[in-house]
Amino acid sequence: MRNEDKKTIEDSRIPLLVADHLVYEYETGSANTVRALDDVSFTIYPGEFIGLIGHTGSGKSTLAETLNALLTPKSGSIYFKGEDVFTKGYDRKKLRSHVGLVFQYPEHQLFEETVFKDVCYGPKNIGMSRKQAELTAYETIKKVGLPDECFYHSPFDLSGGQRRRVAIAGVLAMKPELLVLDEPTAGLDPKGREEILDMIAGLKNEDNMSIVLVSHSMEDVARYADRIMVMDKGKKLFDDVPSEVFAHADELEKIGLAAPAVVSVMHRLKEAGIPVDDRMALTTDEAVSEIMKAFGV
């Protein structure tokens, strides 16, 4: 089983970030207030890859901006390594280097003349020396898979996918322990999406970085996340390993989300009496091996 007995191990680990009963409200144009976060609590452990799913207006983007204290909740708090980040005197600038946040269409925030300078912006802001900042920038640009000749190009001369990598590098260069990405693949073509997601998965595997991937693609999340949180109307609806979350196909559908096509196919095969374990397969490759097993091949 995927992660079946992982839970007992999890509890003994030291949490990286704890969100404690977060409530956030904002006012819309007319008189009514909307609860963007409605009593949301969870814990993030080092090295976890969490998929945060929900459709537009579910509160997932608000949650992302609360994690690095860009938004202050109405009640509840965030504890980063045990410290309440909303107490007076807590260094939020420092927090933002520990909890990196990549916004949607991050390439729209690029501003420097060269890729290299732009990536240096974050490290310099958090007080790295010039040399240190440049070294970090160099490593990070390499890490996101950009070729050497890009370094002194204007970011505006690069392709869309490359610009997005530069923008992600700009956040990574601050060496965050938790990286939150708000729909990092929006607008990219399928191959571009896959490349960015593979790169992000690499950060988790090689640097033991914790990742929160905000997405509305169940397929993407199924492939990469160890754990899925589903948000709806400001509430956390599910928070579990992917196979458990996808088992609630009906409830997901009710809120306008669908389990990945593969999961649905497997479920229907099982109902038709073909001996497949529908909880074992989240990706096409897993599905193939599970189906072939049922065929006795």
Binding site: G29, H55, T56, G57, S159, G160, G161, A186, G187, L188, D189, P190, K191, G192, E194, H216, S217, E219, G256, L257, A258, P260, A261, V262, S264, V265, R268, L269, A272, I274, T284, D285, A287, V288, I291, M292, A294, F295, V297
Partner: protein, 287 residues
């Protein structure tokens, strides 16, 4: 006669450096020929930078060919006197829902096109009403477009095009910035319009959206790399992957099962088809 006739179209643009000197020439569309007949639902697929959007902008004379010819209902797009008529015949819906809405109120935006065409006032109101009803946005006619969801904004943009009474609508990646719900709204609307007789040209990189198209063109590096029905095109999985595209998950699973030795037909497009053929194969093998 075909509605749109693209004949050996080549489009080049000159890249310049910061000082304005010529850096090189990029061929965005390279010797493309294709015909679209009235009433068809055509899909053009391709990765970012494959030239599909550049091609689309030739259909309503937003761009003019470097070489070759594009005609819409027999009208040559290079004929300046015909440009308004061409744009009225072939409307266009763009990618960013925020950047194509001109009016501050939904119905005012829909009226913009007819106003430009010099349609008399009472007729504009009639057209606006009909167009908004066609996309299911009539109740929102007095709303501020800024407060609508992405999918709703795109439907308003579609209504704004319909109000010009086009024969054909070119959708230039209309869903790239939308969430799954919004994508569905837009694609369903496009399909509905097609049923009512409007020719649809859908440009996208989401394969799932084109499974019901009459014909699919796959573009790569400015050329048409593949042509066929969705089923024909989606049965060529390895080639598509090489062109930086992926097939719908169901199609991918079907193809992988076939590779693994099961007898599954090519180009499976829906979950139903896949489940049915696996079940059939299973009962054959087990008996």
């Amino acid at each position: 006669m075909s509605l749109i006739d693209i004949d050996k179209l080549t489009f080049e643009y000159i890249r310049r450096d910061e000082e304005g000197g010529v850096e090189g020439i990029t061929t965005a569309v390279d010797d493309v020929s294709l015909k679209v007949h009235a009433g068809e639902f055509i899909a053009i697929l391709g990765a970012n930078g494959s030239g599909k959007s550049t091609l689309a902008k030739h259909i309503n004379a937003m761009l003019l060919p470097t070489e070759g010819q594009v005609t819409v209902e027999g009208m040559d797009t290079t004929d300046e006197g015909l440009q308004l008529k061409i744009r009225k015949t072939a409307g266009m819906v763009f990618q960013n829902p925020d950047n194509q809405i001109i009016g501050q109120v939904v119905e005012e935006d829909v009226g913009f096109g007819p106003e430009n065409l010099g349609v008399p006032t009472e007729k504009i109101i009639e057209r606006v009403k009909k167009s908004l009803k066609a996309v299911g946005m009539y109740e929102y006619r007095k709303k501020d477009p800024g407060r609508l969801s992405g999918g709703q904004k795109q439907r308003v943009s579609i209504a704004s095009v319909i109000a010009m009474h086009p024969k054909c609508i070119v959708f230039d990646e209309p869903t790239a910035m939308l969430d799954p719900g919004g994508r569905k709204e837009v694609i369903e609307t496009a399909k509905q319009l097609n049923k009512e007789g409007i020719t649809i040209i859908l440009i996208t990189h989401y394969m799932e959206e084109v499974t019901e198209a009459d014909k699919v063109f796959v573009m790569s590096k400015g050329k048409v790399a593949m042509t066929g029905t969705p089923r024909e095109v989606f049965s060529r999985v390895p080639e598509l992957k090489e062109l930086r595209l992926t097939v719908p998950e169901v199609t991918d699973l079907a193809w992988k099962l076939k590779e693994a030795g099961l007898d599954i037909p090519d180009g499976i497009l829906t979950e139903d088809e896949l489940v049915r053929s696996i079940k059939k194969e299973y009962s054959i093998r087990k008996n």
